[in-house]
Symmetry: C2
Subunit: 84 residues, 2 copies
């Protein structure tokens, strides 16, 4: 869960997750949405992947990123418990 909180603790990464909620995207498509060098975005994608928040599929020279929300369950539980 710590890894997930860490991944969520950055505006760019949260924005990436919002984008991926709508549709899968390649690394390049994601990078194009940000005013940031491609390696920086790649680094954020890596953090999200380490946390399990995204999965990847390589298709030729492209890498397509998809969101995975199951790892959010613990975080959700934590927050809901605090609110109870």
């Amino acid at each position: 869960m710590n890894e997930v909180f860490k991944a969520l603790n950055d505006p760019a990464r949260r924005e990436i997750l919002k984008l991926l909620r709508k549709r899968d995207m390649t690394a390049g498509e994601i990078a194009a949405k940000f005013d940031m060098a491609a390696p920086s975005v790649s680094h954020h994608l890596d953090k999200l992947k380490q946390a399990g928040l995204v999965t990847t599929v390589k298709e030729g020279q492209y890498i397509t990123y998809s969101i995975n929300t199951t790892v959010l369950d613990d975080v959700l539980q934590f927050i809901l418990t605090l609110k109870k």
Copy 2:
């Protein structure tokens, strides 16, 4: 919301919130629960306060901390939206 995510991005601070869910506590009572110098705990309490996750009441020489979960609503909304 960024401030809240930042505040949640630390195991000690999340633990403090869990403690305060059960009952209000003074800074000293909270500090006693951690294997960490008092000023470090104080610093974490400050971060939580800045994020609006706790409120304080000074009672004599003690400062009692209480949890405030309303600022978690945006975070909750964010996560639930991702899961939809």
